[in-house]
Subunit: 344 residues, 2 copies
């Protein structure tokens, strides 16, 4: 038997190379939401420009770094669910998601899409579910769910609260997973990508321990990005706290439904992740192009070129296949179907 | 040359075995602060009872686990800086600190003291500094500083803000360090010991990257507990973010003044900490008796018996000595003086 052919699927990519007029539109929209200006109209990114932006950035880096497919979603820090009402959030999600759809339609072999949800602090889930349905209908394979639409104030109920159930039911019905991903921080004390992101991951992991979300929704699948926040480093703490709360083991309670990506930007961190977390729960991801765009002077390679760290681990072929391809196909069945329709 | 004799100094212990009437007093004090009752009087813990409680718990576990000296402070989750005004916070800190002083006076070879500060959401630092001065005068060797007296709302300025300067100046003048330690969470989404503690550590680490605190206060020493929150696991992320912010390396910018304890409750986590962080920045700690009071069924030992994990590492004698004793003497000069006065 030869080596298994493995597709390299990056589950965590963002469209973070938007042209300036896209940001200008959002700025005007935020002003409108704050009663400070007229409602702007989205200018749209011409086909040729969008295609060139992707070719020069995400696609180029995909090829340089040796991955095959990137699951791409709108800029996470830009979702800004704390801004405006359902109307504004809905329009912002729609134009952002439409760009993603155009990207995965332009480069169908290189990208699959994950959508932004029009969440608000106010919190009505009906328009959120409607946008999810629209996007799945358009070919998206999952969504990004913000557990804290208030941007650091944690004003929404914890994700084990039945308040969220209609959304989980829609996700299960549509057979799509969610990546749990906060957006920009509104708190001066909480740096967006250095504190709020990682803290959001950690907070949700603990919420999942406290609750019974997967007992109530056994077919739900969630991904906690950034290597699971602080969870793998503090795995013993979480195992102990689970026992103190009278919960089943993490393996029984959570790890049938919960996945971590590999957005951890150094060798020792990736080693911890693989030492602590079962291979069936790890999905390759790099945030491309994401939070940390710098080259590590110690290695000469970009911090977020996470495939290099994984390639250095002494993984058996089955583990490598699971982390780079198999798990993603299982967690995102619509991605699997899309790949199969391409004879991959 | 034989082995260096090494004292085992645990930098992170709490008096978490208070009698019920201590908790009842606090409950009445909180009610008073909320305008719901009369001002209670602290009942005091009789000498014999306090001595027995410590002998049966902290001292017993110290001996069982093979440590020599524990730096003990009041229960961290009980500090409750979000409750009441400076008057209430001051009284609560005083009675809590007085218990700690009695413990380290009763068992001078086994304990040293770290004090609780009477911080408030309102934030006046004058009474905080006064209580710190009183405690250092009474023989305390450091303090616990809450970077978020609001209990999850992060309403205080980030710790690099000059607003905090009078406190840093007092600490430098008194030659005592602070352990950065949040208290109980007021947010339903943020579990106190599973999310708020770790997130507080992570948030402050990122604040330190953003600011220039140690450039402005070169003699200040801070300890981030719980193994540095998520920082060591995400060391590459923080190195990259530092570069993007145009800051010096972590080693230059922070690690001359910043220390992490070893309150990480599994072997793989401790290994990460020692792989990533220089030995001069690691202080042995166990939270005894702390957040996780359970026995790991996989090892048959308590999760928080962190000395076992360290003992399993292939450390050279100089590293072992630094982590268990030398660093603590350097970071807490008043502990060093206390030990020397005991011919240790």
């Amino acid at each position: 038997m030869g080596r298994l052919m493995t597709l390299i699927i990056d589950c965590h990519g963002h469209f973070t190379t938007e042209p300036q007029y896209h940001h200008d539109y959002r700025k005007a929209q935020v002003a409108f939401a704050e009663g400070k200006g007229a409602r702007p109209e989205y200018p749209g990114i011409p086909n040729e420009e969008l295609s060139e932006i992707i070719a020069a950035n995400q696609l180029k880096m995909q090829q340089e770094r040796g991955s095959d497919v990137t699951i791409i979603s709108p800029r996470a820090s830009g979702m800004g669910h704390h801004v405006g009402d359902a109307d504004v959030a809905g329009e912002w999600a729609r134009v952002s998601n439409d760009n993603i759809k155009r990207i995965f339609d332009m480069y169908p072999e290189n990208f699959a899409g994950v959508c932004q949800l029009p969440q608000t602090v106010e919190g009505d889930l009906a328009p959120v579910i409607a946008e999810l349905e629209r996007c799945v209908d358009e070919g998206f394979v999952g969504c990004n769910l913000n557990p804290d639409p208030s941007g650091g104030k944690w004003s929404a109920p914890p994700i084990y609260d039945p308040w969220w159930d209609p959304l989980w039911q829609a996700m299960v019905r549509l057979d799509v997973p969610a990546m749990i991903h906060v957006s920009g921080s509104c708190e001066r004390c909480l740096h967006t990508t250095g504190a709020h992101y990682i803290n959001g991951d950690t907070a949700v992991f603990m919420q999942l321990i406290q609750g019974d979300l997967f007992e109530r929704h056994p077919d739900l699948r969630l991904i906690i990005p950034h290597g699971g926040g602080a969870a793998p480093y503090h795995w013993g703490r979480y195992r102990g706290l689970s026992m103190m709360l009278g919960k089943p083991t993490l393996a029984e309670h959570l790890m049938g439904n919960l996945y971590f990506d590999t957005c951890v930007y150094h060798q020792a961190g990736i080693e911890t992740l693989f030492k602590v977390v079962d291979r069936k729960n790890i999905l390759f991801g790099s945030e491309l192009l994401g939070a940390v765009k710098a080259t590590d002077p110690e290695t000469g390679h970009p911090f977020d070129d996470t495939k290099r760290y994984i390639d250095k681990l002494p993984l058996d072929e089955a583990t490598r296949h699971a982390v780079f391809e198999g798990n993603a196909r299982r967690v995102y069945p619509k991605l699997d179907a899309r790949l199969k329709s391409q004879d991959r």
